[in-house]
């Protein structure tokens, strides 16, 4: 798009709704989708006299997440009030964390989208806990302009993960979000449903442009309300283009214009201005006097560390080292989450063939999951069954094509692999039977024999096809081997 050297600079703020049973400071349920204002109490409504009490489960989830994204967990963290007026915010302030967040200084290693074999190090400034606000619903039915407020979401625990402005392209952003979501799913700390708002992404973006030996930066824009990974990627692509064109047109730089906020319109595929002149908001942060600072003993952090299990990045490395998978394949499998990883490992264990397992799972299994819109936990072919089937393929007892028939049969019937093969009439062909079949073919095709003897080995292909017709269970590799042996003997 340009003749200038342009660097895209993106930092993300990801709000993760933590999967606690109850809210951050009261015992109300966090269940999604209840009728408006049915999951509220004096505490989350901010009624006069009500006081917050911390939900320890949220602290533990935050610690686990922080450890998984390589953050340090300070010995002491505290609560601050962030003051602003909004109808969704009943107390007139949000309980959040200002200068002593529960997680600080982490990073994520992501695969470089421009080069599968290398990684990028994305810094994480901090992750802090805060309570969510409610929701305003603007009801403009029948010419009215009522605003109704649903406070069910008030007080739901959020972890806000703030990255360094280390991301350089929408593709990297997507990779970062994928990686982050993978970790959050692995830890079971969040549902990560962007549509339901349990994962919300705000992106700060601008361009660093090299022009006539001078480096300038375009004004920073915060892009909001993107509700899918795809939307994030497209919104950023749009925004980068827009900022460049704007700069070419008006020449405004970061020094000329304060940060603005833009929303993403998914249907029109463009960002639009939300707040033109962002006055530097003065939230009047100060320590919440209703909540004591939290001391986090080292034992609690160690305890949390023990619950992490193998993190996705480590699993990717292990699948490469232990099973000889390519980085790409290991990524595809791990990206499907813990259940599929477990499935894969069992298939490998039973079949003894990691590469075959990997390709079957990436192709046949994942395609079927998609077609059936189901999850691996509910999948009809168990890892033991698939493992047993692939073991037979590796042993040459059955070829890939026939194995697919067995796989299809197993999807429909709850039987063992042997039973499936039997039902399909697939039987192991013994070598004397194969010898007889091959001799018969050679006798009937002297020209082929002559061609092969004359050095045209590929001529044998015609006989393999015929053998398969006469006996569908004949393994093509074995047939070829036998034909060559008989010709040469």
């Amino acid at each position: 798009m340009s003749t200038h050297q342009v660097t895209t600079v993106i930092g993300l703020e990801v709000h993760v709704q933590l999967k606690t049973k109850t809210k951050l400071f009261c015992g109300c349920s966090t269940e999604f989708g209840a009728p408006p204002n049915t999951q509220v109490c004096p505490v989350c409504l901010g009624l006069p006299g009500a006081l917050p009490v911390i939900n320890e489960a949220a602290i533990d989830l935050a610690i686990r997440t922080g450890l998984a994204i390589n953050c340090s967990i300070p010995e002491m963290t505290k609560w601050d009030r962030k003051q602003y007026f909004y109808p969704d915010l009943p107390k007139g302030y949000q309980i959040s964390q200002f200068d002593l967040p529960i997680c600080a200084d982490g990073y994520l290693e992501i695969v470089d989208p421009a080069d599968d074999e290398s990684t990028r190090h994305i810094g994480i400034i901090r992750a802090h806990l805060e309570e969510d606000a409610g929701k305003s619903m603007h009801d403009e039915v029948a010419g009215k302009s009522d605003t109704r407020i649903d406070l069910n979401r008030c007080g739901t625990p959020l972890l806000e993960i703030v990255s360094q402005p280390d991301l350089r392209s929408p593709a990297e952003v997507r990779e970062y979000l994928t990686q982050l979501k993978l970790i959050l799913m692995h830890l079971n700390v969040s549902d990560c449903e962007m549509q339901e708002g349990s994962l919300r992404v705000d992106a700060n973006v601008n361009l660093h442009i090299d022009t006539d030996g001078k480096k300038i930066a375009t004004p920073i824009v915060e892009v909001k309300n993107m509700n899918s990974f795809r939307a994030v990627e497209r919104a950023l692509e749009y925004e980068i283009e827009r900022q460049y064109i704007d700069w070419e047109t008006d020449g405004l730089t970061i020094d000329d214009r304060a940060k603005t906020t833009r929303g993403w319109d998914d249907s029109k595929e463009r960002t639009f201005i939300q707040r033109e002149k962002e006055e530097s908001a003065d939230y009047r942060y100060f320590p919440d006097p209703d909540l004591l600072p939290i001391r986090i003993p080292a034992e609690r952090i160690e305890q949390a560390r023990l619950t992490l299990g193998e993190l996705p990045q480590a699993t990717i490395r292990r699948l490469q080292d232990q099973h000889g998978l390519k980085a790409y394949d290991a990524n595809v499998i791990v990206n499907q989450g813990p259940a599929l990883i477990g499935y894969f490992e069992r298939v490998v264990e039973v079949s003894g063939d990691a590469k075959r397992s990997s390709s079957w799972i990436q192709q046949d299994v994942m395609r079927t999951l998609k077609e059936q819109d189901t999850s691996i936990d509910a999948f009809a072919v168990s890892s033991d069954q698939l493992g047993a089937l692939l073991k037979k393929v590796s042993a040459g007892e059955i070829d890939n094509a026939r194995a697919r028939d067995v796989f299809a049969y197993l999807l429909e019937h709850d039987v063992s692999v042997d039973e499936a093969m039997k039902s399909l009439g697939i039987e192991k062909v013994d070598s004397s039977e194969l010898d007889a079949l091959c001799q018969e073919l050679l006798d009937a095709n002297p020209q082929v024999v002559a061609d092969v003897q004359g050095g045209k080995v590929q001529a044998i292909g015609a006989l393999i096809g015929q053998a398969k017709k006469k006996n569908p269970n004949a393994n093509p590799g074995k047939v070829r081997e036998t034909l060559l042996r008989l010709i040469q003997s």
């Binding site: 505490v43 006299g49 009500a50 006081l51 003051q83 007026f85 003065d282 006097p289 909540l291």
Partner: protein
């Protein structure tokens, strides 16, 4: 008649009086004095009689009764009650009925107390005279042209007027002790966290504390026993054993007790000499009971008031932001749909403009300013640092002495209207009391004498954290030796 809660309990046990009879007498007294004193914002006559009836029925059935069975208690209108309005004496909450009881109110009900009503106060507990109430000022039963003090002015006046033997006040910078001193009764601010703040409408969260008010120490001890204790719904509540406070009042032998008298207090300009005389006299009484009097110094005491008047408004400005007209409380009828800031901001501004009185607005402005960007370090954070120094002073003093003795107020009850237009003069009423709030310590105000016009003068004892028993023991010893707490206004 209604002077002593312990006496009322005894009379019921003896069968001399029923709870209903007592409640009726209390309600009659409230009716007789409400016009002249205006101690109540709400009188719950029906609920009180009903509660008394239940006590009588339980007694008749031989069921176990709480320690406040049948005792009329008045509750400051800053404490949530699920069957009465909770207004904080503000137009903002004029019609607010909380869906729940404050923990201290639940504890009163569990103790079988009879809640007579809600008492008047300075709006949102901001003031030292109960003149900032949106529902009219309260008058001092000793002299109805004078203030009862504040902000728990109604809570002090209803006891002094003889309507109830016990009342609950709240103390953020002296709001129990100063009105107790002005009304000639006994009032205690417990250790911060000793009594749950759940359901106490917050003014300054890190300073607020609920406490008992009564004529004499044994009644104060009884009420404290009923309301103290750990509360899981309040994160700042202390998980510490609650002694049976009434048990410590047997002896008046103070031998071995070291009482510190604050040497710099005497030099504080503007203090009424009659008050220093009373404090010195009190020191002699303690001495005569075996206590040793030691002179001590709290070097940062001159910073108490300025520190308090940064921290309290900062917290207040935040705590009061919920009153925006959106969810409950006063909402303006006149939203300006064409306001340049938009209708929403107009709704906030007008609701707050109409709902809050001028003292509340003043403190919100001060607090908002002190917390705003660029000023936090200069004011709020600085005040927090000084607060730590102030706590350090008390720690040092209590390494030498067991209790501190001093005045409660620089003057006796001042005439109504005297200081209402001079906030700085009003703020100086807290000169001797705010230290205990900043340091979170327990302190008690006791009648110690009177001035030449017969107005009560209070003395103050302060103790280390959680040493309420020590405080009550010494205070009771003083009342054993004196009769100041037995004097009554002749209204």
């Amino acid at each position: 008649m209604l002077d002593s809660a312990l006496e009322l309990v005894r009379l019921q046990e003896n069968g001399d009086l029923t709870a209903v009879e007592i409640a009726e007498k209390a309600l009659a007294s409230v009716r007789d004095t409400q016009d002249s004193i205006n101690a109540f914002t709400h009188v719950a006559a029906e609920q009180a009689i009903e509660a008394a009836r239940r006590v009588d029925a339980k007694r008749a059935a031989g069921e176990p009764l709480g320690i406040l069975a049948g005792v009329p208690v008045a509750v400051k209108d800053v404490l949530c009650t699920n069957d009465m309005p909770t207004t904080c004496s503000s137009r903002m909450l004029k019609d607010f009925r909380p869906p729940y009881d404050a923990t201290v109110v639940s504890k009163l009900r569990e103790a079988d107390a009879v809640i007579i009503g809600k008492t008047n106060m300075d709006e949102f507990a901001m003031g030292a005279s109960t003149e900032t109430s949106a529902f009219g000022l309260t008058r001092n039963p000793w002299d109805t042209n004078r203030t009862p003090g504040g902000s728990s002015g109604g809570a002090a006046a209803c006891v002094a007027a003889g309507s109830v033997p016990l009342s609950l006040g709240t103390d953020t910078g002296g709001s129990i002790r100063q009105p107790a001193a002005f009304c000639g009764i006994t009032g205690m601010k417990p250790t911060y966290g000793r009594v749950s703040r759940y359901g106490l409408v917050a003014f300054a969260s890190s300073l607020d504390q609920v406490g008992p008010m009564a004529w004499s120490v044994p009644d104060v001890a009884l009420l404290l026993e009923a309301i103290a204790g750990f509360e899981p719904r309040d994160s700042t509540s202390l998980n510490q054993f609650v002694p049976k406070y009434t048990d410590v009042l047997q002896s008046s032998d103070l031998r071995g007790l070291r009482i510190g008298v604050l040497s710099e207090t005497a030099e504080t300009a503007g203090i009424d000499p009659a008050i220093m005389d009373v404090v010195n006299e009190a020191a002699k009484v303690f001495q005569s009971q075996g206590a040793e009097i030691v002179e001590v110094n709290l070097p940062h005491s001159k910073y108490w008031v300025p520190t308090y008047y940064v921290i309290a408004p900062c917290e207040a400005s935040s705590n009061l932001s919920r009153y925006d007209g959106a969810h409950y409380g006063h909402r303006t009828d006149s939203i300006d749909m064409h306001s340049p800031d938009g209708p929403l901001v107009s709704a906030y501004c007008r609701s707050r403009e109409e709902g809050f009185g001028s003292e509340v607005k003043r403190r919100i402005m001060v607090g908002t300013y002190a917390l705003s960007e660029g000023y936090t370090d200069k004011y709020y954070n600085q005040a927090l640092k000084v607060r730590r120094l102030i706590k350090g002073d008390f720690d040092a003093a209590f390494s030498q002495v067991d209790l501190l003795l001093g005045p409660v107020t620089p003057s006796t009850a001042f005439p109504l209207g005297d200081k209402i237009d001079d906030p700085l003069q009003m703020y100086l009423c807290d000169l001797f009391t705010v230290g205990a709030n900043l340091a979170g310590l327990p302190a008690i105000s006791l009648p110690g004498g009177s001035d030449s016009s017969g107005l009560p003068i209070g003395i103050q004892l302060q103790a280390p954290a959680l040493e309420e028993s020590r405080l009550l023991f010494a205070a009771n010893a003083f009342q054993t030796a004196t009769d100041h707490h037995q004097k009554r206004p002749s209204h």
